[in-house]
Assembly symmetry: C2
């Protein structure tokens, strides 16, 4: 087990409905020392890949992306959730469905922050059905920029998101891939990497 | 002018309605080197103050808080926006009105992450009317914890938020206080600190 899998086993809580609660260290209370380790690991996994920007999505991706960005010495852009129907012309828009909140959101990124010569690393905390990630990829593509890589902290390997993204040929690195969870025992099975 | 005021003059844009757009380096695209400097400056300004947790609010406070937290070696908690009416009993709730979005949100923090022996530094990107900040203070107080300090990146000194908080006796540090902006010329006047 790597440092992250160990932490998930120690502090993650398996809940009904394939929910893995990691809110004590990842997406509500945030362990910044752990985020530093996550950043170092992303840096290692994307060694040699040209990256000049990191893109994430509000809210729980932001902290991880910002701490990881220190390793790459690049700026971070976060896609903003927007309910407004009158979107100005100067933004890229994607529709994103939330697994947790069972609702659809438009997310937007200002056109001025993504350009055709950008090599973008997408970072997010979770990958399950992949809807948020597909939205981020579509935004990068709309800008004519390159998806240099995708760094995910926890992938739910028993949902289809990760496989679809890999099938599409993207360089996806998930620091922990959960292949199964047992609500009764709390046991978590990780994929060998 | 300090490093932040210089950056605001260089890249900030003054818009109609007392709007200061800093989305190229602070709250949409984020300059992580600048965030490191912001973190160091907060560390300096709260030197000697016991702080064991940082509290912020989604979305644009998170990146700043997480990078600043490295200086303090403490975890960050972010208050989550929640539309749900059925709030479980295990969260602290505050009502927050957004200046930018002209809407009310409930923000919540899990009770398990704030305790009476906590010394909390509140961090946010902007302070204008102070509504978000008042909500965060009320959450810390509900937990019986101590507001050890408040660190703001940009305060709009011509709105009442900052003065109310200082009148209440809180140790508030704003790295840049904007006392006036001129839409026609783009000129920004900072308060001497």
């Amino acid at each position: 087990m790597n440092f992250l899998e160990e932490r998930i086993v120690k502090d993650g809580i398996v809940k009904e409905g394939n929910v893995l609660k990691v809110d004590s260290f990842l997406n509500h209370q945030m362990d910044i020392r752990l985020f530093d380790q996550i950043g170092e690991e992303f840096k290692k996994r994307f060694e040699g890949t040209p990256i000049n920007k990191i893109l994430t999505i509000e809210a729980s991706g932001i902290g991880i992306a910002c701490v990881a960005a220190r390793q790459f010495d690049v700026p971070v852009i976060f896609a903003k959730k927007s309910k407004s129907i009158n979107i100005e012309g100067e933004v890229y828009v994607a529709e994103v469905e939330s697994f947790t909140h069972k609702c659809k959101n438009q997310v937007i990124v200002s056109k001025k922050f993504l350009n055709p010569d950008d090599n973008v690393l997408i970072i997010d905390d979770f990958l399950a059905n992949g809807c948020a990630l597909q939205g981020l990829i579509s935004i990068v593509t709309s800008a004519g920029a390159n998806v240099a890589g995708i760094g995910i902290v926890i992938e739910k390997g028993f949902q289809t998101g990760g496989q679809i993204i890999r099938n599409l040929g993207y360089h996806l690195e998930s620091l922990a891939i959960v292949d199964g969870m047992d609500t009764a025992t709390g046991k978590i099975v990780f994929r060998e990497q």
